[in-house]
């Protein structure tokens, strides 16, 4: 959020010169605020209220039997014990016994991080390749675009069930592996295979989105830049590294940001495809498991931890990663060069990324 706050500094003093009289400007201000008010009210109700309440609850004790001591615990203030429960693995005064949800925190944390890094890296590579193929002239553009939109449109729950079938022991994945002499895998329970099952399904579903965003970025690069590079005798690799990459950096980083945040909150795929088998319980799944056991306040602490993790990652991306999600006119260089009169409209990164899969995965 602070990144957003920083990027908003000086938004008022940098407003483009206007010929309109001051009275009209005032009217515009009132009108603008009036028009965004309903949205802010809705967001306050559906996001701010739950967020504040979760933080508030996370400092309260859960009523019930203490799993470590077996004694009944009344409610009341918990201090930071719900947080130390997860972060320091403390259940009461002792370490959380293996098998309890508390003890699973770090395994869930690392596996979520593993999914995030591997999925996003593979998606960048594949997405880049797909985008560069689609950026050329070819016949059958419609078919290719359709093919790439199909995985995006399928609900994640259906995707999970589809890959659950593909990865069944007698399923087609093991049959195909058999052709090349690889023994059949237990895709939904083996600690290694299950993780890759999740990643394969996730990459299949979301690479198209990545490719489309990168493609849109590629199409903004003027062709004469490439002609100039060709005349200057640049190799293909040089052209890619020195021209293509820097020029698609912003859309690429925006796509990477949204995909990263998406995988950090992954739920649907591991919940349905493996149901946590083979150590694939993600952080979001751990919250739901905790809720099922009735520890709401403890679950609130964990969901607050996830929220903070996502906020920190988003901040780092926006501040240091060049993911310019709110491309304000003064900061967008290309607009100054190409279309200086495009108007004062803010260009913003599209959070469809966040919904390329559903909220959960």
């Amino acid at each position: 959020m602070s990144a957003v706050a920083q990027s908003t500094q000086g938004s008022t003093k940098k407003s483009p010169p206007t010929k309109k009289p001051k009275g009209l400007n005032d009217a515009q201000r009132r009108q603008g605020l009036l028009l965004v008010l309903p949205t802010l009210a809705f967001l306050a109700a559906v996001i701010l209220y739950p967020l504040v309440r979760a933080v508030f609850d996370s400092f309260k004790k859960d009523e019930g039997l203490d799993p470590a001591t077996g004694l009944f615990v009344q409610g009341g203030s918990a201090g930071v014990s719900n947080y130390t429960h997860w972060l320091l693995q403390q259940c009461g005064n002792v370490d959380c016994p293996p098998g309890t949800l508390g003890a699973q925190f770090y395994s869930a944390f690392w596996v979520t991080l593993f999914f995030t890094v591997v999925s996003v890296v593979v998606e960048i590579g594949l997405g880049m390749w797909f985008a560069m193929i689609m950026n050329r002239d070819f016949k059958g553009r419609g078919l290719v675009r359709a093919a790439i939109l199909v995985p995006w449109a399928i609900p994640t729950a259906v995707t999970a069930k589809l890959w659950f079938f593909i990865f069944a022991f007698d399923g087609i994945a093991n049959k195909l592996l058999g052709f090349v002499g690889i023994p059949a895998q237990l895709w939904t329970s083996d600690p290694t295979a299950a993780k890759f099952a999740i990643i394969i399904a996730d990459v299949w579903k979301t690479t198209p989105f990545m490719a489309l965003l990168i493609l849109a970025g590629l199409q903004l690069i003027p062709g004469d830049v490439y002609e100039a590079a060709q005349i200057d005798g640049a190799t293909k690799w040089q052209t890619f590294v020195r021209i293509t990459l820097p020029l698609v950096k912003v859309p690429l980083m925006v796509a990477v940001l949204f995909r990263t945040l998406d995988v950090l909150r992954i739920y649907d795929l591991p919940a349905i495809l493996t149901n946590g088998g083979g150590g694939t319980t993600s952080l979001s799944m751990l919250v739901i498991d905790q809720i099922r056991q009735g520890g709401f306040n403890n679950a609130s602490a964990l969901s607050t931890i996830i929220f903070l993790l996502i906020a920190i990652v988003a901040f780092l991306f926006i501040r240091f990663g060049g993911a310019d999600v709110i491309q304000r006119p003064p900061t967008s260089k290309k607009k100054d060069d190409d279309a200086p009169t495009r108007g004062q409209a803010a260009q913003v990164g599209n959070p469809v990324a966040a919904n390329a899969t559903s909220t959960g995965a």
Partner: protein
């Protein structure tokens, strides 16, 4: 497609080229072949798993793990099984619930979002970028952080049983509204607003200028945004799995919990049939509006 084009590019080179031309021609042809191999890989990548779902959906349950790549043992039984309520599955009802929840979510998000988008795209007001930041932050918000507080709230309100659609629609707004505003803002910012002024000069009232000139121009953007919001709501699983009841169960939840005739036997073919039913309407929509959807998906994210 690929085959046809490849043959046209592999036509025998006519004599009379110089050696240099010949080399250029060959490297060009190789690049083209490589491109079409890449395109074929892309198409197979996207369509093969989906194709496998559809083929299995039409395959007799006794041949669930048949590996022939084309449709064999074709039957409609799986669709009957998917819709049958004998085993505790209520897929047909879930379809209705998902449509209701999706439509209401979309309508609310559009009604609220269109005003904010207009303001963000057209007007200058203090705190505009703060508002954009808030909306952006909302779109990054982890859905699971809504579950605990809303679970308790909805329990207290008595929304966790019966046909309380609002228990699903309200949390859905949390992601549908930011999505709607982003997409719409990008669309509206690209519109030729000077036409509105021309219409005013030609004697239209502000209302007329908006209704007769701008609204028809904005219609494709509005429509695409609505489709994206509907798809997002239709595909939602996490919140639906926590807040839906027997009377409001959505299709994603129904499919995830599909049970077969035996307790530990996964009804693969029926699930694939259900998955096909859930997906095919979306895919038809996506195919019809693919250009608009691609521009909606990428709007804003890349406009430097």
């Amino acid at each position: 497609m690929t085959a046809a084009t490849t043959t046209s590019t592999t036509a025998p080179p006519t004599s009379g080229r110089t050696e240099a031309q010949e080399i250029h021609f060959k490297s060009n042809r190789n690049a083209k072949i490589r491109m079409y191999i890449g395109l074929a890989a892309l198409v197979i990548w996207g369509l093969a798993p989906f194709y496998w779902m559809v083929v299995t959906a039409f395959r007799d349950v006794g041949y669930t793990f048949d590996t022939s790549p084309w449709p064999t043992h074709v039957t409609l039984d799986n669709f009957r099984t998917a819709f049958s309520t004998g085993r505790g599955n209520h897929f047909g009802a879930a379809l209705v619930h998902s449509v209701i929840i999706g439509v209401v979510t979309t309508v609310v998000a559009m009604l609220v979002g269109v005003f904010a988008s207009y303001a963000l795209a057209r007007l200058n007001f203090p705190g505009k970028y703060v508002v954009l930041g808030v909306i952006l932050g909302s779109s990054m918000f982890p859905g699971v952080a809504l579950v605990t507080p809303l679970f308790q709230l909805f329990t207290n309100l008595g929304w966790r049983d019966g046909a309380n659609y609002q228990a699903l629609i309200i949390p859905n707004i949390s992601f549908a509204l930011p999505l709607t505003i982003y997409t719409l803002t990008a669309f509206l910012a690209e519109m030729p607003w000077e036409l509105e002024e021309s219409a005013r000069i030609d004697g239209c009232t502000p209302g007329q200028a908006f209704r007769k000139i701008m609204l028809p121009l904005a219609a494709p953007g509005l429509f695409t945004t609505a489709i994206l919001a509907f798809i997002a709501s239709w595909n939602e699983f996490l919140l639906a799995s926590q807040f839906s009841t027997a009377q409001t169960q959505t299709v994603t939840v129904a499919i995830a919990q599909f049970t077969g005739s035996q307790p530990h036997q996964e009804p693969y073919t029926a699930v694939m049939a259900a998955g096909t039913i859930v997906t095919v309407p979306l895919i038809i929509m996506v195919l019809i509006f693919q250009r608009a959807i691609v521009s909606g998906l990428t709007a804003g994210g890349v406009k430097g």
